[in-house]
Structure formats: C-alpha cells, structure tokens
C-alpha cells in the first residue's frame, strides 16, 4: 500500500532547504576556494564528491548533526539551559574563526527570517533574545533545530535539511570556481544522498558529550582561506 499524503511541514522543509532561502550560504566555500588556489588539486567531479563526503562523514555529521539532534530535543522539552549548552559546545568546537563566525551569522539570519513570520513561539523567541544579548552564538545547526521544532519539521528531516544545504553550498561554490560544471554538480548531489542519509541516522541521536570531528587537512585549508588577500567567499 502506498502512502501518498502531503502536508504543510513538507513545504517548510522545501522552504528551508532552498538555496533561495536567505541564510547567506552562497557566500561560503568552506575552504574550497583556498584549496582551488593551492597546489593540492581536487581530481575532477569525483574528487570533489569524495571530498564533500569527508566533510559530511567527519565534520558535519558527528558534530553539527549531533548538535542539531540534541538541540531539537531541548527545544521540544523547552529546556533552554541545555539548548544554550549545545550552542556553546558546538561554537567552541569550530576551530577556524571564519567558519565559526559564518555558522553563527547564518544561524542568526535563519532565526531572523523565520522570526519574521513566526512571531510568537516561546523557545524561538527566547533563543533569538539570547543571541541578541550575546548569551548564545546562534550557530546554524542549533538555530535550525529550534526553527525546525517551531515549524513542526521532524528531527531527522531537519538533519537532512542541514546536510542538503551544506552539500548544495559546497557544490555551488565549486561551480562558481569552475571546478565542476552544472550537470556534474547535480550528479554529485545525487551520489551523495546515501552519505547524507547515513550522516543523519548515525549522528542525530549522538549524545552531546560524544560529539566529535577530525579533518585536520580541511581545518588547515580553512585556516589558509582566512589568510587569503583576494577572495570571493567569506569562508
């Protein structure tokens, strides 16, 4: 028996996943720009796909996705103290200043945008106030958890939104840098779908105390981006 039902939540998923949604992600290459100008070349579309998989499996999955899962639970339970703890923990785990600041900026923009049409919601309002008072950074995965809970988007689907948005952002940057072409970009996104799914399933219930990330090569290239004098992207 096939289940063919539609609901508003799914439209909210599409809205938040759309690259048209104003979170400034089009300005981020997550170090790809520095890699492009370094002597370490990415080997074509397949090389880029494999590189994005490394980001997903070793950074965004076990750190950002885990933070999102925990934060979603805290938002549902109205446990604001724990939500602030998740915000602080993830923010402090982001080693590179540019990446840390960009994640906070995107999260704040997400909160502001959703806050413009959901004006009364306890945890969303409290978290927004905390970011304005600089008690919280508003780092994107935690902000997305709060917003997803507000819009009744299920937790795992919120995880998929984040993985998808991140992947599209990286492929978009690669496209503008001329590393891949438009059809290759879509193939990469398609071929990374299993990795995105696994990253959510493997990490969304990971306890806050077990979050991890380990991608020293990427950390270094992201640091190199900070030192570039001429650049198109903010990360």
């Amino acid at each position: 028996m096939s289940i063919d039902k539609i609901n508003i939540d799914e439209l909210s998923i599409m809205q938040l996943s759309d690259s048209f949604f104003p979170t400034g992600m089009y300005t981020m290459s997550n170090g790809l720009e520095a890699l492009f100008y370094s002597d370490k070349k990415v080997n074509g579309a397949n090389g880029l796909r494999d590189l994005i998989r490394v980001y997903v499996e070793h950074q965004i999955g076990p750190a950002d996705c885990a933070a999102l899962g925990n934060s979603y639970g805290y938002a549902e339970d109205l446990d604001f103290e724990k939500l602030l703890e998740a915000d602080e923990t993830l923010f402090s785990m982001k080693l590179v200043r540019e990446i840390r600041e960009a994640a906070a900026r995107s999260g704040n923009q997400l909160l502001r945008c959703v806050g413009s049409f959901i004006t009364h919601h306890e945890i969303l309002n409290k978290y927004q106030e905390a970011t304005k008072a600089r008690l919280a950074s508003g780092v994107y995965p935690v902000a997305l958890a709060v917003v997803s809970s507000t819009l009744r988007i299920p937790k795992r689907k919120a995880g998929l939104i984040m993985l998808y948005a991140f992947t599209v952002s990286l492929v978009g940057a690669a496209l503008r840098l001329g590393m891949v072409q438009h059809l290759e970009g879509q193939r990469i996104i398609h071929e990374l779908k299993p990795s995105m799914l696994n990253a959510v399933n493997d990490n969304i219930d990971r306890p806050l105390t077990s979050m991890w990330q380990f991608v020293p090569d990427i950390d270094i290239i992201q640091m190199a981006h900070e030192r570039m004098g001429s650049k198109m992207f903010i990360t």
Binding site: G24, T27, R105, C113, A173, S230, K231, M232
Partner: protein, 218 residues
C-alpha cells in the same frame, strides 16, 4: 524608517564604472558639512576597494575611524548580496549602527554587476546607479532595472566622451526618456565635476536637509 535606522544609500553599477571613486568624492564633501558616514563595500574578488577607501578616507585624511570602512566578500554573486539575500549586508549595517549611533548615513557599495542590479529596500533607502560613457552612449537607452529604477542615475567619465565616440546629449535625452522625472547627473569623478550636485541630492532627498547629528546634539 524607524527612528533608530540610519539612512542607507546603495550604490550599484558595472565593474569599473566609478562606484568607489564616487564614494571617495562624496564623503569628503559630506564631511565638510558635518555629516558622518560609514561605508560598507561589497567586492567580488577581494577587499581592495574597501582597503583603498580606508587608506584614503580614514588613515590619510582622518575623515572617519578606520573601522567605519567595512569590506565584504560576496561569493561571486554581487546582485544576490544586495537583492535576493541581503542578510549579510544587513548584519554588517546593523553592527555599524549599534556601534556608531551618531552616524548620519551609511553608504553600501555593491560589487560591480550588470544593468539589472537593484538594491533591496530592506537594505538601502536610496539607490544610486552609476554608469560611464566608455560603455557607449547607448547605455541609458538599453534600460535595465538599475538604470530605470534607481533614485539617482550618475553618468561618469564624461571627459572621455569625445575619445570613445559617445554623444552626451544622446545619453541625456535617453536618460530623460527612460527615467521620466527621476534625476540624473553627469560627473567626472576624477576631477570632481558634478559631485557637488550628487551631494546636494543626498542632503535633500536622503537626509531631508536635517542638521548633522553631531551638530544637532550640541
């Protein structure tokens, strides 16, 4: 516009049309009248424009603190940064507003882009579009949202007209036809010709002839 919002002027135009130089000419005149400006400069591939303005207007001439010239990289999408997703610029503007509440205006320079670029009203209250005659005297006639809809059209490098075969009278005629009653100014940003008129538009149409905040407080 809320009482806390500092008036914002957006400046857009193609690469090399003179956006940065227009700001470098306008700010000293506004400063001589007592108006304090902040600058946010979007640049497609670097922060070179912002660095130049900071050196010229802040470090060397002392017209503003150095941190009042902010450079933003825009990921190769200058139009997106001022129209579809102005969130990054709005953050930068609000940061400047919260730090310098006495500013009279904030100037936001777009990265060089095409003739369809316009500013989101959420970002800028007044929009200047600048073109230059070296693109040919057909420019105004070709229209585009920037040329048609801006609050003030600035046509730069008028001294080059005879050298590139551009007829200024055709550009003026077409600008009037395309823009109706909305103003345009012919300038030469290198010599300062026409800049006073641009500044007068800003004082009248953006600042509403109000006294500079620093003066009004005394």
């Amino acid at each position: 516009m809320s009482s806390r919002r500092i008036p914002r002027i957006g400046i857009g135009g193609p690469v090399g049309s003179g956006k940065t130089m227009l700001i470098e000419q306008v700010v000293p005149i506004l400063s001589s009248k007592g108006y304090r400006a902040g600058i946010i400069s979007n640049d497609v591939v670097s922060r070179e424009d912002a660095d130049r303005m900071r050196k010229n207007l802040a470090s060397e001439r002392g017209l503003m603190p150095e941190d009042l010239v902010v450079g933003l990289a825009t990921g190769g999408c200058p139009h997106t940064a001022v129209r579809e997703d102005p969130s990054m610029n709005i953050s930068a503007v609000e940061e400047m507003e919260s730090k310098y509440i006495d500013l009279d205006l904030i100037i936001i320079e777009s990265g060089g882009d095409n003739i369809t670029t316009t500013f989101s009203p959420a970002l800028a209250d007044y929009f200047i579009y600048i073109i230059d005659v070296s693109g040919g005297d057909k420019y105004p006639r070709k229209r585009g949202l920037g040329i048609e809809n801006c609050d003030l059209l600035v046509i730069n490098k008028i001294d080059l007209a005879p050298h590139v075969g551009a007829d200024l009278s055709i550009m003026e005629r077409d600008a009037k036809e395309v823009r109706g009653n909305k103003p345009y100014v012919l300038v030469n940003c290198r010599t300062g010709q026409g800049i006073k008129e641009v500044t007068e538009h800003l004082v009248r149409d953006v600042l509403f002839e109000s006294a500079p905040k620093a003066v009004a407080r005394k």
